[in-house]
Symmetry: C2
Subunit: 358 residues, 2 copies
Amino acid sequence: MKAIAVREGTNTPEVIEKPIPEPQEGEVLVRTLRVGVDGTDHEVINGGHGGAPEGEDHLVLGHEAVGIVEDPNGTEFREGEIVVPTVRRPPNGTNEYFERGEPDMAPGGQYHERGIVGAHGFMAEYFASPTDSLVRIPPSQAEVGFLVEPISITEKAVELAEASRSSFTWDPESALVLGNGSLGLLTLAMLDENENYERLYCLGRRDRPDPTIDIIEEMGATYVDSRQTPVDEVPDEFEGMDFVYEATGYAKHPFQSVQALAPNGVVALLGVPSSWEFEVDGGQFHEEMVLHNKAMVGSVNSNVRHFESASRTLTKMPEWFLDELVTGVYGIDEFEKAFDEGDTIIKTAVQFSAYEER
Amino acid sequence: MKAIAVREGTNTPEVIEKPIPEPQEGEVLVRTLRVGVDGTDHEVINGGHGGAPEGEDHLVLGHEAVGIVEDPNGTEFREGEIVVPTVRRPPNGTNEYFERGEPDMAPGGQYHERGIVGAHGFMAEYFASPTDSLVRIPPSQAEVGFLVEPISITEKAVELAEASRSSFTWDPESALVLGNGSLGLLTLAMLDENENYERLYCLGRRDRPDPTIDIIEEMGATYVDSRQTPVDEVPDEFEGMDFVYEATGYAKHPFQSVQALAPNGVVALLGVPSSWEFEVDGGQFHEEMVLHNKAMVGSVNSNVRHFESASRTLTKMPEWFLDELVTGVYGIDEFEKAFDEGDTIIKTAVQFSAYEER
């Protein structure tokens, strides 16, 4: 079968030939439909993550997959079911985090991530996966199911943020998403379906005309240009935010976000910046956290529960939004286009086989 | 009656004469037994808070009170009940935070704090308080009931911290309290009664022999000297902490604490530093928050629910601990001693009248 991989020592994905995987006991063989591309894939390609499985010279890319069960292999799955795989796998046997269904809470060294670190990804015509890492989704999501994984990341982060506010009465009305990439826009769409949020804002640094600004405004949200309004000036220009979602990985955002929060608000952090020393008013940060009961939660990865709620969230997202968000789906023969970057590209995927309703 | 107040323009508490307050409808008249002194009182004396009630030239001090109902004034309270008053009061009529019993979540401008900002405190022979701001405690706590307010501050902070970890399986075993003042030691004693925490640490910067180090070690906890082990080096020297409680107000602690946390851990911030710019590795802070699902919660004040749990917590604290913690209780005639500071002084109170069992 064909797979898209990056070989050690190179920074270019290529199509390689590999044998179709043989599912082990408790595993299902899945025929891949589509696999999404995101910023993490570009980081993997550029060598920013952990690399190939032990003893191998290449890493198959891809962690945002949707597929169709080809061979249930004696499990409770049925041929033809549409499934999305979770990303983390235990490195050696299992461990407590996987056993209790919370691989997203495992610390470094206690997980591999398929397509990212230590285990091959899903950008291949077929993949095998244990049943407890596969989530059934409705056939109506066969074409957009590669969005379930990125949405699940937001489900987890929002769950953590809401939990942090669960010991008192918290009725958030305003939310600010930092970042107008695909994850930012998916988060905005998710918050838009949440009846709590009456006023949504999305921050970027782009000039009009721009397709992401169009989406933000079609959704009824407000575009905040960070070049005109830095995050910590958002309350002066707009309002204090009950919830701030950081999806850019810009290392100054956590500090600025605390200033952007309304009293009793919460910041969720998702981006992963690298080391960067700079000056902050740590006293003001500390005081603001305390005197206004503010909270900050970091969030990485997601588990089966978040994939399940992501699929439900995806059902509610309007068709126009998904149409405008997914700017390109490419076959294996032109897979390079899925890795292009540019201001008119929002979300892309590689198609490995077409879904045909049965 | 006698009261201990600070006059505007001065930085010295003094005994003044005031009329005994007349309880309004829904208010109870309380005869004050004891009122504790803490760092906030010293800040108030030195002008670091909001000052006297509107139109008045002095502020009666004290926010950690215990008293005995002198005149129930037609309410459901009974004469002779032992009560502790909460601290916040609505500035004009009421507002949504007070109406739902969460004055601790009110933003600035929507509360006064008795003895701190905008309303007289409890350092007087009598005070009046609305019934919904009075918490009954057992007669056995008549002498140490002034500790209920500071413990309630920790109850609130721990509640927020635990809530932030409630969306996944979190079994904390290790905790580090930053600060060996009275609040730090009360927190340590509270965590010691919580069966979850198997290993407790308390950070200070004092040489032995020292009465607070004695208490820490009698409790079976480990004293961490911050001059030898800065907070961010705690995992190397000891272990990563599931919970860090910041009670010093040192502005660098939030950043160092994130490094001190074990994966999935949480920092609670309580101190209130002033503005201070310094360099931090914001990228590392951000990355650490995200990749290990860490959380940070700020917490201020507390409400009736926290006072009630604080009274239950106080019941469990061993007598030796309370004896060693309370280093002095002074009558009005020598009240200045309660405001002395020094390494042998941990917690003091002013006694306004003696409790006699009926």
